[in-house]
C-alpha cells in the first residue's frame, strides 16, 4: 500500500461575494510510496500550494480523496485534525514560519509541547536532529538573529522532531540564496536517504533534480511525471529542464 494516495482531487474556490469561481484543481491523481522523495512542479498559479494544503488537511477539497497510510485525511473530524497534523505530518514553508516570540529551540519544541510531551524527552529527541542539521550552536538564538538558511534548517528540524510519516515542503528554497539552497537540498537528500518520505513543491529545476520523481501539474491535473531512476542529478536536471520546455510549448498549442 502506498503511503499517500491522492484520488480525483478537485478544488474550486468561490470568491466571497459569490462572483467568479476559480478551479484550482480539476482531477489530481497520484500516489507516493514510503521512502520516496517526490517533487511537484508547475507554473505559478497552477494549484501547487492548494494541493499541498489539502494533503496537509489545512484546506478541504471540493471533491476527491487523500489517503495517508490508508486513512482518509479529508474526513477526519475537526477535533482530531490538529493531533493528526502534529503526529503524522511535518511542514516546511517558503517563508519559514518560525515564531519570533520563541528562541530556535522552543520553535522546534512547539509541536511536542502541543502534544504534551515530557520536557526531558524533547531534549533527547532534539540532540541528534540538531546535529544532523548543524544547528546546535544557534538553538538559544532568536529567529531574527540568524540567517535565512539557518532559519529553514530550524524549520526542517521542527518538521522532523515529531517523527512524521510524511514531510510536506512548499517551495522550501524559494527565499534562500543559492548556497543556502544547495545546503538545504543536500540535507533533504540525506534525510530521505535515512528513509524519510518527502513531498516537495518547487519552482526550481535544481531543487527538483534532487528528488527521485518529479510530477508536473498543469491546468489542475498531473500532466506528466519523470522518474530519476539510476541517472545522475545532472542528467536528471537536463531531463526536467527539457520537459518544462515541452510543457510550455504544449501549453501554447493548447491555447
Amino acid at each position: 500500500m502506498p503511503l499517500l494516495e491522492v484520488k480525483n482531487l478537485k478544488k474550486v474556490y468561490t470568491t466571497r461575494f459569490g462572483g467568479a469561481q476559480v478551479q484550482a484543481l480539476r482531477a489530481v491523481n497520484f500516489s507516493v510510496e514510503r521512502g520516496e522523495y517526490v517533487a511537484i512542479m508547475g507554473e505559478s498559479g497552477s494549484g501547487k500550494t492548494t494541493l499541498l494544503n489539502i494533503i496537509a488537511s489545512l484546506d478541504k477539497p471540493t471533491a476527491g480523496k487523500v489517503l495517508l497510510a490508508g486513512e482518509d485525511v479529508t474526513s477526519i473530524a475537526e477535533k482530531q485534525l490538529s493531533v493528526f497534523r502534529r503526529k503524522k505530518l511535518g511542514f516546511v514553508f517558503q517563508d519559514f514560519n518560525l515564531l519570533d516570540t520563541f528562541c530556535i529551540r522552543d520553535n522546534i519544541f512547539l509541536p511536542l509541547v502541543l502534544s504534551g510531551e515530557d520536557h526531558k524527552k524533547m531534549e533527547e529527541k532534539l540532540i541528534p536532529i540538531a546535529k544532523k542539521l548543524r544547528i546546535e550552536d544557534i538553538l538559544d538564538k532568536y529567529p531574527y538573529e540568524v540567517s535565512g538558511g539557518q532559519k529553514q534548517r530550524c524549520a526542517v528540524a521542527r518538521a522532523l522532531i515529531t517523527g512524521p510519516e510524511l514531510i510536506l515542503a512548499d517551495e522550501p528554497t524559494g527565499a534562500l540564496d543559492s548556497r543556502a539552497s544547495d545546503n538545504l537540498l543536500d540535507m533533504f537528500s540525506r534525510i530521505n536517504g535515512e528513509g524519510q518520505t518527502i513531498l516537495m513543491v518547487t519552482h526550481s529545476v535544481k531543487a527538483a533534480s534532487h528528488a527521485s520523481r518529479v510530477l508536473f501539474i498543469r491546468d489542475g491535473e498531473v500532466y506528466t511525471q519523470l522518474y530519476r531512476g539510476e541517472r545522475t542529478k545532472e542528467a536528471f536536471y537536463a531531463d526536467i529542464a527539457s520537459s518544462l520546455t515541452l510543457l510550455s510549448v504544449g501549453g501554447e498549442e493548447h491555447a
Partner: protein
C-alpha cells in the same frame, strides 16, 4: 499629481481601515463630548459658581484636557502602527513622502472635523441631560435656562486641533524616519526581547513599598494631607517600574522553570508576553493607575454624598454657633452677647439645650522642651502649636469640667503632655514666662471649632480672665505687628427644640438681631458671626452633591479610557498575533488550544492591572479614611461598603469588556482551516 487625488486617497485610507479607525474616531468623539461638558459645566453653569464649585470644575477641565492629550496620543500611536505597511506600499508605488504627508494631513482633518461636529453635537444634548441631573442633585429649581456654551466649543476646537496636530506630527515623524522596507514591516518588526532589569525591579519594589508604608502607617491627619500626594506619586512610580521591569523578571523566572514552561497552556502565553512586555508594561501600568483613580474617586465621592448628613453633624456639632472675634480692651461684652441670644430665643419661643459658652485667646508657638517660644516666621508648619488659653471659669463653660488652678499656675491639656518627654515637667514656659503646672491631661483636646486646624492643639487653663489677658499682652509684645488683631474669641453654641421651620426662623431672627446690634470692625468684617446647621444644610448638600457629580463624571471618563485602552491593546495585539496563531495552527494547534491560549492571555492582561488596583486601594484605605475624616466624614464602615461596592461594580464592567474583547481577539486570530 491630479488635483483631488490625495484627499480622495485619504478618504479611502480611512474607510478601508474602518476596523482601527472607527474605534479611534469614536474615542475622539467621546473625548470631545466629555471635554465640552466639562467646559460647559465649569464656565457656563451659573449654579455651580453660586455654590463655589466652579473652581473645582476648573480643575476638572484641566484634568480632562491633560487626560485627553495623553489618551488620544496613545490611541493614535496604535493606529499609525497598524498603517505603516500601507504607507510603505504607497511609498514603493511611487508616492513621495511629501504626498504621503499631505494624505495624512487630510486624514487627520477628516477625523478632527468629524469628531468635533459629532462630539460637540452629542455633547450639547448630553450637557442638557447632566445639567438637569445636576440641578436635581443640588436641589435647585429645575426651570433653568439652558444655553449652548460658545466658550466651551471654542476650547474644544482649540484643544482638539492641538491634539490632532501633535498626532499628525508624530505620524509624519514615523513615516519620515523609516525607509519603505521598514514601513512595509512596520507592524511586525522583530522586536528584541527585553532584558530583565533587576535593579529597576528592585527600585519598583522599594518605591511601591514606601508608598504603601506611608499610606498605612501615617496616623496624623495633618501629615496625611501633606504626604498624600507623595504617597500617590511613589505608588505610581512603583507601579510603572514594577510593571516594566518586574513583569519581565517574573516571566523569565517562569520560563526558567522548564516543567512549568513546557506546558501547552503556558508555553505560548509566557513567551508571547515576554516578547511584547516592553510596550505591554506601560499600557498595563496605565490601566492599573487609571483603574485605581476611578475606584478612589468614585468610592470617596459616593461615600461623602451618602454620608453628607453625618458630615454636617461633624462639622456643626451644635445647631447654632455664635462666635465673636475682637481685640483686647474693647467694649465688647461676651456675657451681653449670651444674654442677647437667650432673649431672642425667648421671643421666638425656642428652648435652648446643651449650651456651651466660653471666651478664649489663641497664640501660635514653637516648642523647645517645655518652653513655648514665639513661632519663627517662615518656619515649617510641622511643629507649630496652637495654644488655646482660657480661664477655669470658661473651661467649665466649655467642657463642663472643673479644674482647680492657683494664681500664676496653668492646667495643661494636649497630646504633648502625655508624651514620655513631658513626664517630669513640673512647669512650662509660655513666651518667656514660667508657670507651675496645676495638672495635665495627655489626651488630644477635643475643642470643636479648632479640630480642623493644621497645628497641634494645646489647651492651657488659667485661674482668671485677667491671667488670660496677661498672656495675650505678652503675645502682643512678642509678635508685634504680625499679632492677630482680634485675639479674643468668644463662642456660644447650643441646640434648640422645635421643627425645622421653627429652627430656621429662629436662626434668621438671631442673624437679623445681631446685624442690627453689632458693628463691624476696622476691616469691615462683622465682629459677631453665626452659623446655623439648618440654614447651612442646602449649600452643604450642594457642595457634596457637586463633588459626587464630579466624581461620577470624571470616574466614568477614566473608566471609558481604561476600557478603550484595553480594547485597543488587545485588538492591536490580535493583529500582531494573527500570523503567530496561523503558524501554530499549521504546526498542529487545535481550535480548543487556540481558544484556551487566547483566554489565558487576555485574562492575564485584563486582570493583573485590576488585581494591582485592588491591592493599591486596599493599601490606600487607611490613608483615605483619614483624609475623609479631615473632610468631616468619620463613618468608616460606610466608606468601606462604598469602596467594596465600587470595586465590585467596576469588576463587573471590566468582566463584560473582557469577554467582549476576548471574543473579538479570538475572531481575529483564529483562521478557519
Amino acid at each position: 499629481m491630479r488635483k483631488g487625488f490625495l484627499p480622495r486617497l485619504a478618504a479611502t485610507g480611512l474607510s478601508s481601515n474602518r476596523q482601527t479607525y472607527l474605534p479611534y474616531f469614536l474615542t475622539c468623539t467621546g473625548t470631545v463630548l466629555m471635554f465640552y461638558n466639562m467646559c460647559a459645566l465649569a464656565y457656563h453653569t451659573s449654579v455651580l459658581s453660586e455654590v463655589s464649585l466652579s473652581s473645582l470644575m476648573t480643575i476638572g477641565v484641566w484634568v480632562t484636557a491633560i487626560f485627553a492629550v495623553i489618551f488620544l496620543f496613545y490611541t493614535n500611536s496604535f493606529v499609525i502602527k497598524r498603517r505603516k505597511k500601507e504607507f510603505g506600499i504607497y511609498n514603493i508605488l511611487g508616492l513621495e513622502k511629501k504626498h504621503i504627508g499631505i494624505t495624512m494631513l487630510f486624514e487627520s482633518l477628516y477625523v478632527y472635523v468629524g469628531s468635533m461636529v459629532l462630539g460637540v453635537g452629542l455633547g450639547i444634548l448630553f450637557n442638557k441631560l447632566i445639567t438637569l441631573l445636576l440641578y436635581r442633585m443640588l436641589r435647585f429649581d429645575p426651570n433653568f435656562q439652558f444655553a449652548i456654551s460658545l466658550r466651551a466649543i471654542l476650547y474644544c476646537a482649540v484643544l482638539f486641533a492641538g491634539i490632532a496636530l501633535l498626532n499628525l506630527l508624530y505620524n509624519l515623524l514615523q513615516v519620515r524616519l523609516s525607509n519603505p522596507i521598514q514601513l512595509l514591516h512596520g507592524s511586525n518588526a522583530g522586536e528584541k526581547e527585553p532584558k530583565a532589569k533587576w535593579i529597576t525591579a528592585l527600585l519598583g519594589v522599594v518605591t511601591l513599598g514606601a508608598g504603601y508604608w506611608l499610606a498605612i502607617t501615617i496616623q496624623d491627619p495633618i501629615e496625611v494631607l501633606m504626604l498624600f500626594f507623595v504617597a500617590v506619586i511613589l505608588v505610581i512610580m512603583g507601579t510603572y517600574l514594577l510593571f516594566t521591569a518586574g513583569s519581565v523578571a517574573i516571566l523569565k523566572l517562569l520560563r526558567k522553570n522548564k516543567r512549568y514552561y513546557y506546558k501547552p497552556a503556558h508555553f505560548t502565553t509566557i513567551s508571547g508576553m515576554i516578547y511584547r512586555m516592553k510596550q505591554n508594561a506601560a499600557g498595563l501600568a496605565s490601566i492599573c493607575i487609571l483603574s485605581t483613580a476611578v475606584l478612589v474617586m468614585i468610592s470617596t465621592t459616593v461615600s461623602m454624598f451618602v454620608g453628607s448628613e453625618d458630615v454636617l453633624h461633624t462639622r456643626y456639632p451644635e445647631e447654632i454657633e455664635v462666635t465673636a472675634s475682637y481685640p483686647a480692651g474693647t467694649e465688647f461684652d461676651a456675657d451681653a452677647l449670651l444674654e442677647n441670644t437667650m432673649a431672642v430665643a425667648g421671643q421666638e419661643g425656642r428652648k435652648i439645650e446643651n449650651l456651651k459658652a466660653y471666651t478664649s485667646t489663641t497664640v501660635s508657638a514653637d516648642r523647645e522642651g517645655n518652653a513655648f517660644i514665639p513661632a519663627a516666621s517662615g518656619s515649617s508648619n510641622n511643629d507649630v502649636y496652637l495654644l488655646v488659653i482660657l480661664s477655669a471659669q470658661d473651661f467649665e463653660g466649655f467642657t463642663g469640667k472643673q479644674v482647680s488652678v492657683g494664681p500664676g499656675e496653668l492646667y495643661a491639656w494636649g497630646n504633648v503632655f502625655g508624651s514620655a518627654e513631658a513626664a517630669d515637667w513640673d512647669s512650662i514656659a509660655v513666651l518667656g514666662h514660667s508657670y507651675p503646672l496645676a495638672g495635665v491631661d495627655g489626651s488630644a483636646p477635643a475643642i470643636g471649632a479648632y479640630s480642623a486646624w493644621m497645628a497641634e492643639l494645646c489647651c492651657l487653663v488659667t485661674d482668671s480672665r485677667d491671667a488670660v489677658a496677661a498672656v495675650a499682652a505678652t503675645a502682643q509684645e512678642a509678635y508685634g505687628e504680625t499679632y492677630n488683631p482680634n485675639p479674643y474669641y468668644s463662642r456660644i453654641c447650643f441646640d434648640t427644640d422645635g421643627t425645622t421651620e421653627e429652627k430656621t426662623a429662629f436662626a434668621q431672627a438671631l442673624r437679623e438681631d445681631q446685624l442690627s446690634k453689632y458693628p463691624r470692625d476696622v476691616d469691615n468684617d462683622p465682629i459677631v458671626t453665626m452659623r446655623s446647621r439648618e440654614t447651612t444644610r442646602d449649600s452643604f448638600f450642594s457642595l457634596y452633591g457637586g463633588l459626587f457629580f464630579l466624581g461620577i463624571f470624571l470616574g466614568s471618563l477614566f473608566l471609558m479610557a481604561t476600557v478603550l485602552i484595553i480594547y485597543y491593546k488587545q485588538i492591536v495585539e490580535g493583529y500582531d498575533d494573527k500570523e503567530r496563531f496561523a503558524i501554530m495552527q499549521k504546526v498542529g494547534m487545535s481550535r480548543q488550544e487556540v481558544k484556551r491560549t487566547v483566554r489565558t492571555q487576555v485574562l492575564l492582561v485584563f486582570f493583573i492591572p485590576l488585581l494591582a488596583a485592588a491591592v493599591h486601594i486596599t493599601a490606600a484605605f487607611p490613608m483615605l479614611t483619614k483624609l475623609l475624616k479631615l473632610l468631616g466624614l468619620e463613618n468608616i464602615p460606610l466608606f468601606l461598603v462604598c469602596t467594596i461596592c465600587t470595586v465590585l461594580v467596576f469588576a463587573l464592567i471590566y468582566a463584560i469588556v473582557y469577554s467582549m474583547t476576548a471574543k473579538v481577539y479570538y475572531r481575529i486570530v483564529y483562521r478557519k482551516g
